[in-house]
Amino acid sequence: MQFFGGSDISPSPPAPTASGNNAHMMYVFNRNGVCFLYREWNRPLHTLNAQQDHKLMFGLLFSLKSLTAKMDPTSMDKGNLGVPQLPGQGCSFHSFRTNTYKLSFMETPSGIKIILITHPKTGDLRESLKYIYNLYVEYVVKNPIYTPGAPIRCELFNTSLDQYVRSIS
């Protein structure tokens, strides 16, 4: 029997269950930094109000992107730190991990940013984000009564998104 077993300082969150309650939340930003979709599945901790939370998330992604563009060891000519970059320009990142969550990030050529926050043990989600982008194109962009830039209120999109996210393991 082990009494002093836990040398781990940080308590890791419970492992994902088989039913796939794996994703915590999802954000979609347009290129102006407006959050036009926010979905929440499992988020026990709220530190800020929704608007500030979205702003902070966008700022984090923006700064991390300029950091990776600056640190990129493979290219020689890098601009100054913090200069705004077009989508696809410079070295970007696709995910980061902390001890409590994993954030996967995708930016489309039109500047739409899709962010999915899941359990830290989740694998590579780049393909899943592409699939979610496809859902967005199919159910939101092709929706004739949707005005670009407005918050997404498409029932079909929401249900298929929920269904898909539940299937991610």
């Binding site: 300082i9 940080s10 308590p11 969150p13 915590h24 939340m25 499992n42 988020r43 026990p44 901790l45 530190t47 800020l48 939370d53 902070l56 998330m57 700022g59 984090l60 700064s63 991390l64 300029s66 950091l67 990776t68 600056k70 640190m71 990129d72 060891p73 493979t74 730190l81 913090g82 070295c91 970007s92 990142f93 696709h94 995910s95 980061f96 991990r97 902390t98 001890n99 409590t100 969550y101 954030l103 926050i117």
Partner: protein
Amino acid sequence: MDTNDSLRVASLWHSMHAISQQLSPTVGCLGIELLEADTFDLHCFQSLTGTKFFVVCEPGTQHMEGLLKVIYELYTDYVLKNPFYEMEMPIRCELFDINLSQAIQKDRVALLGR
């Protein structure tokens, strides 16, 4: 990157580390451990006193946490126990540099053997 750039990157990382804790969906978040960029992976280890160590490596490299702990050990042994070292100053300790490059070399050999 020159000294100013590395200072800017370090302060940016410090704030990103703090913000990532604020955005956590559950309690007990200790900040970013691994950042996966398109061309590199950045592993970060934060000691209990708040000193942060980075390793920048090829995408997908495993076992970097162990290397970071070894480097932290070298730091405590050769830098903090050095009587001529002043806290918060740039590290200029020959023994630390030698042992650090040895540790990296050893890790590279181990990686090739794996």
